[in-house]
Symmetry: D2
């Protein structure tokens, strides 16, 4: 229908992601729940909680069963949960005597949360794969542009020279840490949820843990020490990770946006897009914009996921519903952002000449720190700084080059002409790029 941009036919190509949507939409939701009912029946059949043939019959039927999501609409509106209606439909599909063993001893939240986990597992595989691709692309880009000298900027002002390679390494380094984080959190976020009515597996008596273990095996999911129905830390931690990823990409997008400004012109999105409805010359930086958008959207949704953690007693209502309204958006946003990041990185057009021009446009002001350190070899640092500061003012008024003014105003034996090339002032940039690239490889 398209109330949400993630579901919109109009905006879906921009702000959503077909592949992840297919893993996360209503159909996938139902599919995952049915797969769990199947696995549950098998596990219970093996343990002997239900007759083994009934378990197999249910599993077969559940795997073959297709249900139109809208069939669950009315009952979900009444009960606030889709599982009773789903179970009823599945029972009908199973038919016969086995039908009564469907969903044996489970509660709605077992099915929905584990279903979420199954979908998250698939989605995280896609996301991890895209993250790896983006990491590799950025690593190449950083390597390629080690020697591409450009303006380093702090607080929106030209500061000192840097290289575009180091800037790219700065986008890359946090993504490598995000890859590490994902590995660490996966076993906490992707656990079987299985506790029965109120987290005691009351209906399974002595056999609760055996069934839980069997179900975990069927689904290849780790067990939690106890049911996590109202312990949402794993889900919330994951949502924090999604927002970390989009925020890191959003920072990259913001940097690119600033570099694409007409007056800066250091890079262009090389994508075929960004036209205006009225200005023929415009090529808007679409992918970078979207990276900023999705970063800010996820940051906001993250707070909601943490608010949702205060779920009452054994199982809460509103907090859990709040996750339904929030987490899927965050998953799609993250996958979508990584897709844009890949395309952006692949196609980015780097204008090394404009980078160099922007360095030169400062009349040497960008070398002010370097000049002040050079002078500090010969006179007290505060005096050196004062001298350079005065020379900077002179340059801003006169348009002369800072090093020329300093050569004139100071008798200190500094080799001013050797200082002139910004490429001589990159400090440890290459060493840092090496270290970041090495961190990529260590995984």
């Amino acid at each position: 229908m398209g109330i949400s941009v993630f579901d919109s036919a109009i905006f879906g190509g921009l702000l959503s992601d077909d592949l992840l949507v297919a893993l996360f939409d209503d159909h996938a939701h139902i599919r995952a729940m049915l797969d769990i009912e199947a696995a549950l029946a098998l596990a219970e059949g093996k343990v002997g909680v239900i007759p083994r043939p009934a378990g197999e019959e249910i599993a077969k039927a559940a795997r073959a069963f297709e249900l139109d999501p809208s069939a669950l609409r009315q009952e979900t509106a009444k009960a606030a949960i889709p599982v009773p209606a789903l179970v009823e439909a599945l029972r009908e599909a199973v038919g016969g005597d086995a039908a009564r063993f469907v969903h044996w001893g489970a509660t709605t939240q077992d099915i929905m949360d584990t279903g979420l986990v199954l979908r998250l597992r698939q989605a995280l595989d896609v996301i991890a794969s895209r993250l790896n691709t983006t990491i590799d692309l950025l690593a190449n880009l950083a390597e390629t542009h080690r020697a591409t000298v450009m303006v380093g900027r702090t607080r929106y002002q030209q500061a000192v020279p840097t290289s575009f390679g180091l800037k790219v390494a700065g986008w890359l380094a946090p993504l490598v840490r995000n890859r590490d984080r994902l590995g660490q959190l996966r076993p906490r976020a992707l656990m079987l949820s299985f506790g029965g009515a109120a987290g005691t597996l009351s209906a399974l008596g002595e056999q609760g843990i055996a069934v839980a273990s069997g179900l975990a095996d069927e689904l290849n999911l780790p067990l939690s020490p106890m049911p996590w129905h109202s312990q949402r830390d794993g889900i919330a931690e994951l949502s924090g990770w999604l927002s970390l990823v989009t925020a890191c990409l959003g920072k990259m997008g913001q940097d690119v946006l600033l570099m694409t400004q007409s007056e800066v012109g250091e890079v262009r999105e090389g994508l075929d897009g960004g036209g205006s409805s009225t200005m023929p010359q415009k090529a808007n930086p679409v992918a970078s914009e979207v990276l900023v958008t999705l970063a800010r959207a996820n940051a906001g949704l993250l707070a909601t996921m943490h608010q949702a953690m205060l779920q009452e007693h054994e199982r809460g209502g509103p907090g859990w519903q709040l996750e339904w309204a929030t987490l899927p958006q965050m998953v799609i946003a993250t996958g979508c952002a990584l897709g844009h990041a890949e395309r952006l990185t692949t196609s980015l057009e780097v204008n090394a000449e404009r980078m160099r021009d922007n360095l030169d446009r400062s009349n040497g002001l960008i070398l002010a720190e370097a000049a002040s350190f050079a002078l500090s070899q010969h006179l007290p640092r505060p005096r050196a700084q004062a001298l350079v500061k005065a020379a900077c003012l002179d340059c801003q008024q006169s348009g002369r080059h800072l090093l020329d003014v300093l050569a004139e105003q100071s008798s200190a034996p500094v080799n001013w002409s050797a200082m002139r090339d910004p490429a001589n002032h990159l400090g440890t940039a290459n060493g840092f790029i090496d270290a970041v690239l090495q961190s990529v490889g260590t995984e």
Copy 2:
């Protein structure tokens, strides 16, 4: 597809709203944009910026034109805006010489923002109407239960007696203020957006204001003093209002949830719903849960709407996209919450007997304040309070009634038996109910 609960076939009956979705989804989006292109062409034809017959031809075509939202998907993915593709499709539909006058002098944001305003206007009409209904229902409920005595609770503890009528009046009073707020903000939130490429109506030369006025007339929208492309205060104020409404309803939902607790049992949702997949006795308070959920969802989204206000220069990208991802959800959530509030209020089953029982279960502790004031007529207030506090401890251990203990322990000439009925301690409750009901009527 159903990534968002607002678009989900499964959850749509619970957490979304068909009527509002129809006013706000992809189809409505396109419809609104086409209506604006129609109105623009008419207005420009009247002013003479374009040939009048061309304007009429475009308007007729635009109004008849139907476009599948997915037709805009690919170009929107490229340009981050659907209008260039829409305009091209419309030009084809218009055909002939008039085609070139489509979208004359407008920019994408004019069409999209005004399109949003048209949809918001319709949605706010629905929302205002539901708000009025809820106000009327609550007013009746407050009137009905003036004399239904119950426990007043502060900080999760029994405090002093109150009436259910006053509690309902407490849900009602903020809704009346929200009705006032809506009237005040509508002209700020629902303004024509029309500024051309960068807010100067550059392509219309001298005729900019005439066209803007004509367009405003066609659409029956107020003009802003200047284009509001990157002035988002009206939209953000509206989103704040939506969240005020859902938060006020969320407070009501939270109160009902607490009152429906098995141990409290003072009210029940009278809706046919809330079944459990495993516990036959359960009747879950679905509507109240949803009210809390949507309140917290909107509160979080509101921050995003305010973050989105920092839009760069004449027209920003990410901040605007952030609104697309956020505001529609808030609109639907608010309409959905009001729907639940209506149904909840209509069907609420009030158990006056349980309310009275809960009062009685305190062994008179709930009369502690009253007792301490009665004693304060005869001894210093701190001594009175200390006496009552000691008696309270006694009651908690002995299970005796507070007034019995006090009668025994104090010689002050208090008429303890007259104090015994909680209904004698409602203070100004009726006066307050009157005042709230009067505030309803003043509109």
Copy 3:
């Protein structure tokens, strides 16, 4: 101590505001509460709920009483509310028989919420006054720069010419609306809070409304129809307004930041500040940065204020505490932002020459929309746009001026040389400035 930047001795001059802090800190908190105890005693004495001389005695003592905030620390830690300890201290200060009539019939929340309202009233006076000053300063600036032509930018790219006056008008217009909003919300946000233990004024019996009216008169505050202990819409609406103000100023700050970039250089903060610890040439745009910071801080805090609205039953605990942790920061942030906005607007150095240079640097691309409309008089608009688009590409590669290329490539009878001056393409800019300035005056 300085955990919060608003309380920090280091950061207080940057991110806080001495005047508002003095109206809002611990001392002011106690002062306000004592003033209310004074007014309550007077009002109750007049109505006869307590002896009139006792009321006067209490009022006199309360107004003279000074209490070190740390004296309340220990009891507040125990009870989560400072009023019991304050009342006890006040009773001691009053002494004698009158002491027992202190705080008669009131509850902690009456005193704290009304105390908040008194402090908010003073703070809003300061804030409103600064808002007026900023409005006037921006109005002057817009008027001064009507004819200062500059680049209009959309989505980070040069779009079409505009004037700096119109840009300033765009910062101004939402502030004028914020002034209107404040007038409308004040009576809803600044109401007497007085309901007694659980909102029934139970301890005052028949005289509740008389005392409430008298107290409202003493404090010159409007009455609400019923106590608003757990109706937080007024406070939340106010917090939304504070965030609207800072977001509007944050947008201005963001624009200035972008214009101060070394490569853009169109304005400079004329404040004596922004030095770097290592780069002598740097002059950082401090005020603009702070405007963005405080906008984003307030936007986040706003969500918390709306989350806090779900307060349980007659009086809630956590939601109310959440306001204490949140609202004061928002008030100070808003006052601080307005202070920075004033100083920024007063001292802003506008470089009209750089504005003109940046227009010229596009080789006429910024006139692409104008050229396409000029051509559209003579050929179909899509063909005109295609022609201009091709010419734009040519310019980007050849460095030639767009109008030269078009003159060469098109035989259409366009007066290309008359088009060359960007000042001829300001469309309705002046009319819009007029309308905004007029909106300022209407108050």
Copy 4:
């Protein structure tokens, strides 16, 4: 001053934490920055970037130097950073020739961010220690109450029996995971920040990495692969962890609040506190309230920390300032919450009798699931459920016990009297408690 509750003399004992404030306030801020200037001088002296004796002289002076925070106020207001003024004051304190080598090659952000890291390291030690204490206390409590049978509640309704031990284990399990998380994130969050003017260590030439390594050694901090000036993922990840901790505690606080309700009465905060200014009988659940408050406060602030991640280019302004305004509050809130959790857990009074009473008050409805499974051994599950559902309705009207009604209405050979004790329906509760306690021990 007390604008923030974390700095308030009034509220500091409730919502702040003296120990953590001392590690994080203005004084600690200055101390940490001076320690870094000391370590930097030593490291540079060892590498030979500055004369070794000068390095030692600076280090000695910096460690002995005391500066009143207000001495930095004025310059911080101008420059938005306190380091230039601090460095100037330190240079004066050092005096002589060595003075000019103070802060050699570093930038403000190196000093401030590393100073933050030093303070965070100390604060996290305190927080980790409290977390361990809380874990141990909860583990004991869970063990103690294995056999304390109580109502399990889902969606605010009685569901099936559980044990208080399992409920406590449910508060404990996420805290154990939080302990694991902290261990994993510490090396990412607590890294040396050292990059010079724009992240290239430009002023140190070839010796950048040697100085960085030496400085990291002096401070016992890990190096990052490259300076993290505008890579805020480590800080944001930490803030996410802080919010996870408070949210997990907030869930516990919410549960306790619900259990302390007068009508439920299953636990009481055993702290001497919570008095009311007007109601002598009240004992408010202060610690639990605060846990909820701080959870929701942190959840909101977390979004701001993620919004702050979008820092521009090599070093951003607003995003960084936003962290200053946000992170310290989160640290104190978390420490404060853990303090309350400790006190709450230590002193919690568990009323096993009321727990049993509440179980009994359902007339056996709480055994509905068990009854339906017992019947399902003998008839199809849907028929069993329908039978039980009908019996539940009967009980609600008649007040009879569910098992009596069922015994009457069904001929199935169920041993109804053996079912009567809720303690027989705890399913896997003990096994789950074992597993959680084991997870505690594994660290």
